[in-house]
Amino acid sequence: MALTREQMAQRVARELEDGFYVNLGIGIPTLVANYVPDDIDVMLQSENGLLGMGRYPTEAELDADMINAGKETVTARTGAAIFSSAESFAMIRGGHVDLTVLGAFEVDQQGNIASWMIPGKLIKGMGGAMDLVAGADNIICTMTHASKHGESKLLEKCELPLTGAACIRRVLTDLAYLEIENGAFVLKERAPGVSVEEIVEKTAGKLIVPDHVPEMIFD
């Protein structure tokens, strides 16, 4: 079975370490915050200028001056800091964020990522995504393995305009967890009940399949 959005978030959350500063993109990445293990503490960076994003506010706490990068009202947790956009991207561009999780339309075997533009269809802008992929060493890209029409999103070469070049090393799809090494996707884990064959079939880019590909385990 393909992973649910919640399972994808759960799987990504296993990459969190105690004391990590983490930037979570919109969509599935945002859900990761719900699966932080109880015995670790992570600090969420929101690129509009908030380090230490807390929960949504109560009615009483609601404050127009307190939003996250998704423009949602939020709160600040204990230990938070708030700063300018220049400072926020100094952190991001300077490589101070420990883990970045973001969605994508396509990833290719060179680690290129396309996530911000579909010519003639969607031109909303890249927001902070280009800075995030350029600044981070440690990025996990989350997306469905294939489009609704069955077209692979793990390509030999991205077809859409890039968000960043040669910057992605790790991809979690609804079918598999893969790493990108030396111009190829390496299949590291598969979703419970998903066969290697299905993953091979739905991966357009070069795929290396080790002898043993463990299944992910969920509670």
Partner: protein, 233 residues
């Protein structure tokens, strides 16, 4: 002597001198911390053919979005413009030129402009359409692109509190692009919720020192919320 008293008493005075064809740098992120009354004054004046640097372009009917109604903006540098149907139509009809700019690069362009740094290298955007036509150079074994900074004819800024000297502090995440915008205007206008007595702001806690600020006005703000999220209390 007027000295350093930068207070003005009307929005008309606050935006005096803005002319067709000028470049305006605006603070704000989404609808948070936007100089909403200064934008309304530009709308009232009907100033045309503006080039605007702002992370977003407001929404239909609020924020910079209202300047689209009479096509006052001809070019915008922004990182994200997805909230605005009118905007999308003008873009598709090529009635407005949109230069999509990575958020961090946009912030740094303003900061560098204010700081007298005409250009800087960044890895952001290399190998993407943002890097097209820009100089590429390797540093530390990695390709970077050259980005130029910006100085505007006007900067419009939303602060929380200011004193008559033009010292400003921002509140929570309404800070965002405002401090950089404030440095990058030939004329910088700041509207705030409260003008406080001199000495009330602690000198080492001021976000924007008065040297960057030309005019200060106290206003009242709608502070519209774009995505209202609440949890059970």
């Amino acid at each position: 002597m007027a000295g350093f008293d930068k207070r003005v008493s009307s929005y008309e005075e606050a935006m005096e001198g803005i002319e067709d064809g000028m470049t305006v740098i605006a603070g704000g992120f989404g609808l948070c911390g936007i100089p909403e009354n200064l934008i309304a004054e530009i709308k009232r004046r009907g100033t045309k053919d503006l080039t605007v640097y702002s992370n977003n372009c407001g929404v239909d009917g609020f924020g910079l979005g209202i300047l689209l109604e009479d096509r006052q903006i001809s070019t915008i540098y922004a990182s994200y413009v997805g909230e605005n149907a009118l905007f999308e139509r003008q873009m598709l009809n090529e009635e407005i030129t949109v230069v999509l700019t990575p958020q961090g690069t946009l912030a740094e362009k303003m900061r560098a402009g204010g700081a007298g740094i005409p250009a800087f290298y960044t890895a952001t955007g290399y190998g993407t359409p943002v890097g097209d036509g820009k100089e590429v150079r390797e540093f530390n074994g990695r390709p970077h692109i050259l980005e130029e900074s910006v100085v505007g004819d006007f900067a419009i800024v939303k602060g929380w509190k200011a004193d008559r000297y033009g010292n400003v502090i921002y509140r929570d995440t309404a800070q965002n692009f405002n401090p950089m915008a404030a440095t990058a205007g030939r004329i910088t206008v700041v509207e705030v919720e409260e003008i406080v007595e001199p000495g009330e702001l602690k000198p080492d806690q001021i976000h924007t020192p008065g040297i960057y600020v030309d005019r200060i006005i106290q206003g009242s703000f709608e502070k519209r919320i774009e995505r209202r999220m609440v949890r059970e209390g």
